[in-house]
């Protein structure tokens, strides 16, 4: 038989005005199992709490119900008081007879009856309650940052500066991401590399950062505070520890005509190469697909010229296991391709623009490279086909974006601004040239952004034409652009020397695969999903994993850096304690009854349910059951309602407790 104490609060007059609190207390006393009941003017006051503590001690109570305000208000208060009196805090509950009763009903008789009912229900719940202990998990104070664009760099530096270890994994031979490719950046038009390269160097030199470039995530196990990450370091064919970065190998490599990815294919590189001069690390990598040695076993020039003997054709991929406590995902974006896409692709190219076969129709990133002093044209705007300076340049916004039929309905967010920037850069470089921009909307919400766009229109004399382009084709050395100006209501035709398309920002290739390894969710466009669009914009639903930058959705640099620093702050919050304490309202599987159907695993929004094999002493598999990781479980109870064999149960909301309440109705 339980020994429950019931405390009915007057809340000054807030409750007692409509609820006969004395009667409620008296009726509570009659409920079987209630060993003590009383009413009091202000239960939450110090004397009120002392009354509770004293009653627990004096009456040897094993459960407490405070009938007062909403538990959202004072549950913590009373649980603390109960705890101080030596009772497990989870055996203290509240009945809400204020917000749900005295304040919403006028009839004293009805309100009193309802309050009594609430007490009765909750007493049954307390009776079936269990002592729970908070869950603690140890935290490995080392963070993994995936992706070395500006997002990853910012997050890594912030975390490392806070004194924690960081492992950065970058897929490409160098960090830097897209920002390293940009010429000048809106809204201030400062040189991208000037602000970017120092940060890249900081990453390389930071004592707390371990940098793996040309590396990928192989496997992720564990949970918040306790991840085990396996990193695959791809074979570089150059021994990083020996290479001095002298570059002799690159000057001597006979394969010199490989289109350079960094310059969007508009410059050339060798088979042994660094992507760009300021690359971090400055260690070359052999592109095995294009290296004669790897393709036909001949050459080996690089190896011969390399003084320190760093070139190593035999090098293999290596796997490194890193234990980390938190993960920041910062894998960025890729640009939409207007080329003809495979039949089954969810996105489509632009047949009406020639499927990318017209050489002088380029994308925005290519324009960045043309405008960049370190680019293939040394910063001169020269068109790809014949290297002439274009006098009429047409920019087209929203290519791929906001085009449901082409497969993408969202707005890419950065292209309005970078197109405005491009018109300015163009006007600065080609004074007698004319820039035209076809646009549907100019979306420029941001500090100083609209002013920036207006500057492009008013001072840099870009002609903005509201309307889309229908078709483009080559006529002589010109590109005929057929568009419309919906403001005037006429068709417009421009013979352009160069066309620059602001193609959509898309999720990285393989973003979904990485998400599956990490156990995080992503939307239908493969952008990673934040836990809450407004209030948890950097957290993943999966505890311990955070998002930064364009991998979560199109973002410009200011937004990316803000989010990266926010993600770093979240990691630092996690690392601030040695142990992670979590509310013990989590699910537990009763392995005896679990039939291993894993229905629970499917519905769990946190990915907290894992499979567990039960083996006998000989190691033979007895059965597979579900197992809930308490470090990850969010406590929603969906698994329990789903389980056909009722073998998983949410502490604090057990079937028994709920049924007891229903019985008491």
């Amino acid at each position: 038989m339980s020994r429950i104490g019931v405390f009915v609060c007057h809340c000054g007059e807030n409750i007692s005005r409509t609820v006969d609190v004395e009667r409620v207390a008296k009726e509570a006393g009659d409920i079987p199992g209630v060993a003590f009941s009383c009413d009091y003017k202000y239960m939450c006051s110090d004397p009120g709490q002392n009354l509770l503590k004293k009653a627990v001690a004096d009456n040897n109570l094993d459960g407490v119900l405070v009938a007062a305000c909403s538990p959202r208000m004072h549950e913590k208060t009373f649980r603390k008081a109960a705890s101080a009196a030596g009772l497990n805090p989870y055996l203290c509950e509240m009945g809400n007879i204020r917000e749900h009763c005295s304040w919403v009903h006028e009839d004293r008789e009805e309100a009193t009856a309802k309050a009594s009912d609430i007490v009765k229900l909750m007493v049954e719940r307390v009776k079936k309650g269990k002592s729970l202990a908070p869950i603690t998990v140890p935290v490995t104070k080392k963070a993994l940052v995936i992706g070395g664009g500006i997002a990853g760099i910012q997050a890594a530096l912030d975390i490392a500066d806070a004194g924690h270890q960081v492992v950065m994994v970058e897929r490409e031979p160098s960090i830097g991401g897209h920002m390293a490719q940009l010429s000048e950046t809106f809204p201030t038009l400062d040189c991208s590399q000037c602000i970017m390269t120092p940060k890249m160097v900081d990453v390389a030199n930071h004592p707390n950062i371990t940098l793996y470039t040309f590396a990928e995530i192989e496997k992720v196990e564990g949970y918040i505070g306790n991840f085990q990450v396996t990193v695959r370091k791809k074979a570089r064919s150059v021994d990083e520890s020996k290479c001095t970065g002298c570059g002799v190998c690159m000057t001597k490599c006979p394969k010199k005509k490989i289109p350079n990815e960094f310059d969007q294919g508009h410059g050339m590189r060798t088979a042994i190469y660094v992507p760009f001069p300021q690359a971090v690390p400055n260690t070359p990598v052999i592109d095995r697909q294009n290296c004669t040695m790897f393709q036909s076993g001949k050459c080996g020039v690089c190896q011969k010229v390399c003084g320190p003997g760093a070139v190593d054709f035999e090098q293999q991929d290596t796997l490194i296991v890193e234990p980390v406590g938190a993960i920041v995902v910062a894998t960025g974006f890729k640009l939409y391709s207007i080329e003809r896409q495979p039949e089954d692709s969810p996105i489509q190219g632009y047949g009406e623009f020639g499927y990318g076969t017209i050489p002088d129709i380029i994308d925005g990133m290519t324009f960045e490279r043309l405008a960049s002093a370190s680019g293939p044209t040394g910063g001169k705007i020269l068109r790809p086909s014949d290297g002439k300076e274009p006098k009429q340049v047409v920019f087209i916004q929203c290519v791929g974006s906001r085009a449901r039929e082409k497969g993408i309905s969202y707005c890419s967010k950065v292209c309005c601004m970078y197109t405005a920037k491009h018109t300015m850069l163009y006007h600065h470089k080609v004074h007698d040239g004319q820039a035209y921009v076809f646009y549907m909307d100019a979306r420029t919400p941001g500090k100083g952004y609209d002013e920036f766009w207006r500057r492009a229109v008013e001072e840099e004399e870009a002609v903005y034409i509201r309307g889309m382009v229908s078709r483009m084709y080559q006529r002589g050395d010109k590109i005929v652009v057929m568009g419309s100006d919906t403001l005037v209501g006429v068709q417009v035709e421009i013979e352009a020397d160069l066309v620059v398309m602001a193609t959509a920002v898309q999720a990285q290739d393989g973003a979904d695969l990485l998400a599956q390894k990490l156990g995080i969710s992503y939307d239908k466009y493969n952008f990673y999903s934040e836990a809450h669009a407004k209030l948890k914009p950097v957290e993943c639903a999966t505890a311990g994993i955070y998002l930064a930058g364009a991998c979560q959705g199109p973002k410009d640099i200011p937004d990316t850096v803000s989010q990266a620093s926010a993600a770093a702050a979240k990691v630092m919050t996690l690392f601030a304690k040695d142990q992670l304490e979590r509310d013990p309202v989590v699910a537990k599987v009763n392995e005896k009854y679990c039939v291993g159907c894993l229905a629970c695993k499917k519905v769990c929004p946190y990915g907290a349910v894992e499979e567990r094999e039960i083996r006998d002493r000989q190691g033979n598999l007895v059965k597979v059951v579900a197992s809930v990781n308490p470090g990850v479980c969010g406590g929603c109870g969906t698994c329990q309602a789903t389980c056909p064999s009722k073998s998983v149960e949410l502490d604090g909301y057990t079937d028994e407790q709920i049924m007891a309440m229903i019985e008491a109705l």
């Binding site: 909403s70 538990p71 959202r72 809400n96 204020r98 917000e99 749900h100 009763c101 304040w103 919403v104 009903h105 006028e106 009839d107 009805e110 309100a111 009856a113 309802k114 009912d117 609430i118 229900l121 969710s521 836990a531 639903a541 309202v585 519905v603 929004p605 946190y606 969010g634 406590g635 929603c636 109870g637 969906t638 329990q640 309602a641 789903t642 949410l650 604090g652 909301y653 079937d655 709920i658 049924m659 309440m661 229903i662 019985e663 109705l665």
Partner: protein, 167 residues
Amino acid sequence: MHAEKLQHDFEPKIVAFVCTWCTYAGADLAGTSRMQYPANVRVLKFPCTGRIDPVFILRAFQKGADGVLVSGCHPGDCHYMAGNFHARRRFAAFRALLGFVGVDLERLQFSWVSAAEGGKWVEVVTELTEKVRAMGPMKEFKALEDEEQWSGALNTPELREAFESIT
């Protein structure tokens, strides 16, 4: 502004299964805003509508509820991301079953009430109470129980065990 208190022949018992984050908080807001609604409702709090097992609803009807309300966060607003979505799927199947056993589906209402919708909570509760009041007491399951009592059908241990296993 005290409205004339109406006397009714029948006061239905309404049970509300609500989630903590949205509807419970919405009901709290109705309280802090001192809105008024019928006192017939008894609220049972859950972490998430995802936790609500249809069996609870059946049991509530059996234990004398005349109407049941299930309410949680709006789609997309679930504190646990997708709990309410799973709940929705589950209840869709459950409704059909309930209809099959002969419960008038009008007695069971699902709704979304956010933490900011104190007014909507009042509306939903009031409407359901009025509707159920007009429908009269829920007799189906009670009759069943009575019948069981009278026939003594549960007197054999096998039957009792079977009965307990489903309740």
